[in-house]
């Protein structure tokens, strides 16, 4: 019985569909996984608490004690980066998943239902897109202050319309295919059409899109901390680490260089991974 079940729901794995990843993509994936692990175990391997002032000196150099130097308050940057991984990766991931989930669901519903619902939703989200994202962040900060859930929701809200547009365009194409027509002619309900017929077929490009948005969110996150919407101290995401230590840039302080490198490795590797996704996945996005 169990075997039959598993047979009934064959997962279209990359291998079965004839994909493979090249080495650039694999390197990207490895770096992503590395940071994901750091995000999880960071607090246990950090040598110092993120808020502890370990040195009266500021913008200290790389030493045996402080592997990445110290920050503007004399705190250990290495520990702060390890702790920051959790916030940067976690928040960006949570918001991108939320944005894409929302966007994809709305996009698919709009594509299937069409008509007025589609029209009004598309217009509304378009209008929302017209408001610059950082300004939106600013208003949110002013209205409800800053906490991690607020941060995640704000970022998700900023990226939802784009994701919606993308998913809707894909879903409209899939919705017009014969297999969806067949299912509809069979009398299937809208939820079935969305979840079983359309969703599996836009999943590939949606995942690729999710990766790209993830990169943007990592950067917007640092932009938001510029406006005061960020993780509560003493913790900080990487963007905030760069931001609060930016005065060290002219001194060549490691405190500003290492967080920048952390951001760059993450975003570049995600890009490398996405760009080198097998073309079969990406091409369906067109």
């Amino acid at each position: 019985m169990m075997i039959e079940r598993s047979n009934a729901f064959v997962i279209p794995t990359p291998k079965r569909l004839g994909y493979s990843f090249n080495w650039v993509g694999r390197v990207g994936l490895a770096v992503i996984l590395f940071w994901a692990v750091v995000a999880i175990v960071g607090p246990w391997i950090a040598p110092h608490p993120p808020g502890e002032i370990v040195d009266w000196d500021y913008f200290g150099p790389v030493t045996a004690d402080f592997w990445m130097g110290t920050d503007y308050l004399g705190r250990d940057i290495f520990s702060r980066i390890l702790m920051g991984a959790r916030y940067t990766v976690g928040i960006a991931l949570a918001s991108v998943v939320l944005a894409c989930a929302g966007g994809v669901i709305l996009g698919m519903v709009a594509a299937v239902i069409g008509g007025w619902f589609d029209m009004i939703l598309s217009r509304l989200l378009d209008a929302f897109n017209g408001i610059p994202s950082l300004l939106f962040g600013l208003v949110v900060v002013a209205a409800v202050g800053s906490s991690i859930p607020v941060l995640i929701l704000t970022l998700a809200a900023i990226y939802l319309p784009g994701s919606y547009r993308f998913a809707r365009a894909l879903a409209v194409n899939v919705n017009a295919t014969d297999y969806v027509t067949v299912a509809r002619a069979r009398g299937e309900s809208t939820p079935y059409l969305i979840t079983r017929e359309i969703f599996p077929n836009i999943l590939g490009p949606v995942l690729a899109d999710l990766g790209l948005r993830f990169v943007f969110i990592v950067l917007v996150l640092s932009g938001l901390s510029f406006l005061g919407l960020g993780v509560q101290p003493p913790n900080a995401d990487w963007g905030a680490l760069v931001r609060e230590n930016i005065e060290g840039l002219s001194l060549g302080a490691p405190a500003v260089i290492f967080p920048s490198i952390a951001i760059a490795t993450l975003t570049i590797s995600v890009n490398m991974f996405i760009d080198n996704l097998p073309s079969k996945i990406r091409d369906r996005s067109e």
């Binding site: 019985m1 047979n7 297999y179 027509t181 299912a183 599996p200």
Partner: protein, 553 residues
């Protein structure tokens, strides 16, 4: 024999699949083409005929590369040339007429600019001279308004005209060899004739050699001097056209020819003859697309269609593209609600809108689409695809469902272990069988077949038709069979409707179709079907005004 224009010697072409696997798609092909000779490359899809044709231009598509052998074109070894030198050959020595001119014309540029582009690329002649030459070619290709047609954009001329314009484009540089890549496959039969005629006459006048790629023996018979039969990247048989048609040596060639043999349809007689109600009855049906104003849609397609289909009988609907035949199937299936008229299934009135039909009504009439590729969800396994209607209509679960899926696969003559595959892992014919099996899973009484054999190779299509007949005998089905191909319809249907511009112009029993059709359009359609006879095109006499009136151009 004079020096051959083209010599292909042991040509091998390799390709890299998406999974990174290397395969050889052309395996040691050798042939020659004499100057002025037209050679046809015949084969089913995947036989490598287009790949060979393109390689004559020194070109292989992305992922493919010439791995061995030589191609000599007019004493030049094309395979040894640099890309720049190859480019210099293209358009001047050898040129190309694409399968779909509609796709091969750049939509954003005027036709004339594209036709004379070869002369600009190779700096053959001044622009004015090139345009004059183009107009001459347009005239030679029997294009209407040859002086001005070049000023239009591609979307402003018909498919048949575009195909002839693409020939002009190929001929403008005065090539020694012209490659025709299935140039009439995408056209309606009535249009195909004009295009074939035009091609034939310019080729004869110019004395150019040609390579004609096609899967259709009847078309090739009209234009080629010699035929090369390909399968799986290898030559099966080579011979003059006459020889191939009359004395095929290779079994595969015979198989190809056999698919052209008319198979007289034996009407299926349901056992209980007493059923009075027709399975399907369509009364004054009107349907269309677009915004609905005053109860009528903006674009009206179907106009007052009436017919009835008796249980156990098959109805063929033929017509050319735009005739509304597919719309008719969609209206009956409820995908496109009609705005006027009625549909009775088994005597019960069907509501226009899908959502207002009962599950039972939906179950009784199933639709099967032309392209199995797009009709099967690529993310679902065959078991899921077939299992869903079983669960949906019949509530089957678990082992019972699996058993039934196996039965269905058996019914369409497929092995049971196929159920664990994804559609992408199947061949075209297998996919179409699955497509059919899914309809059968509902245990329907009527199957609406929308061009289900059109996209298939002749041999495979013939097998599908046989399967349909068998299934009908086993399951007491009725088919409504939509096709542009009269011979297919004749092979399976009892009655035929001829459709033109959304209206039924003639309804006849299929057996008497060829002989008794009255409507001029029906006659035109019948006469336009190419015959396996080299002299058919030359002898064909058609009323040109009639063609102009009905042909889709």
């Amino acid at each position: 024999m004079t020096q051959p224009l083209v010599t292909v010697n042991d040509l091998r072409i390799g390709a890299v699949t998406d999974a990174g696997r290397k395969v050889e798609i052309i395996r040691g092909v050798s042939f020659e083409i004499a100057p002025g000779e037209i050679v046809a490359l015949i084969g089913e899809s995947g036989s490598g005929k287009t790949t060979i044709a393109l390689s004559l231009m020194g070109y292989t598509r992305t992922g493919c590369s010439i791995t061995g052998g030589q191609i000599t074109l007019d004493q030049t070894d094309v395979t040894a040339l640099s890309e720049r030198k190859r480019a210099a050959l293209r358009g001047t020595e050898v040129s190309y007429v694409p399968q779909s001119a509609a796709a091969a014309f750049n939509p954003s540029k005027r036709i004339m600019d594209q036709v004379i582009e070869i002369t600009a690329i190779h700096e053959l002649m001044p622009k004015a001279e090139a345009e004059a030459k183009a107009v001459d070619l347009f005239r030679a290709l029997a294009l209407p308004d040859p002086e001005h047609i070049g000023h239009r954009y591609p979307h402003q001329v018909s498919g048949g005209q575009l195909q002839r314009l693409s020939a002009a484009m190929a001929l403008i540089g005065g090539p020694k060899l012209v490659i025709f890549d299935e140039p009439t496959t995408a056209l309606d039969v009535t249009t195909q004739i004009e295009v074939l005629r035009a091609f034939k006459s310019v080729m004869q006048q110019g004395g150019m050699a040609g390579v004609y790629v096609s899967h259709d023996l009847a078309v090739v018979a009209q234009i080629a001097d010699r035929i090369i039969v390909l399968k799986g990247g290898e030559i099966q048989e080579t011979g003059t056209t006459e020889q191939i048609l009359t004395h095929p040596a290779h079994p595969y060639t015979r198989q190809l020819l056999a698919a052209f043999e008319p198979v007289p349809h034996v009407s299926f007689q349901p056992e209980a003859k007493a059923v009075p109600k027709p399975i399907l009855e369509v009364i004054h049906l009107h349907a269309g697309y677009g915004a609905i104003r005053k109860g009528e849609p903006e674009i009206k397609i179907l106009k007052d269609v009436n017919f009835s289909l008796e249980r156990g009988r098959n109805l063929g609907v033929i017509g050319e593209s735009g005739s509304g035949k597919s719309t008719l199937a969609r209206a009956i299936a409820g995908i496109l609600p009609p705005y006027q008229g009625g549909i009775l299934l088994d005597g019960q009135e069907l509501r226009g809108d899908l959502k207002r039909r009962s599950k039972e009504q939906l179950r009784k009439a199933q639709i099967v689409f032309q392209l199995a590729d797009t009709a099967l969800n690529p993310a679902h396994s065959i078991e899921q695809i077939l299992g869903r209607p079983l669960a949906f209509y019949h509530g089957l679960k678990g082992a019972a469902r699996e058993a039934r899926v196996k039965e269905l696969l058996d019914m369409v003559r497929l092995p049971a272990n196929l159920r664990h595959r994804l559609p992408g892992e199947l061949s075209g014919g297998q996919k179409q069988r699955i497509n059919l099996a899914r309809a059968l899973a509902a245990e329907p009484e009527l199957i609406l077949c929308d061009e289900i054999t059109s996209a298939l190779d002749t041999v495979v299509a013939a097998a599908i038709l046989d399967l349909l007949k068998e299934l009908q005998r086993e399951l007491s089905l009725s088919y409504m069979f939509i096709s542009h191909d009269l011979s297919t319809v004749e092979a399976i249907c009892d009655d035929v409707l001829v459709m033109l511009k959304g209206e039924v112009v003639e309804a006849l029993p299929a057996a008497r179709m060829s002989a008794e059709a009255q409507h001029p359009y029906s006659r035109l359609l019948i006469s336009s079907i190419p015959q396996l006879d080299t002299g058919w095109l030359a002898q064909l006499e058609q009323d040109l005004t009639l063609v102009a009136q009905f042909a889709n151009r």
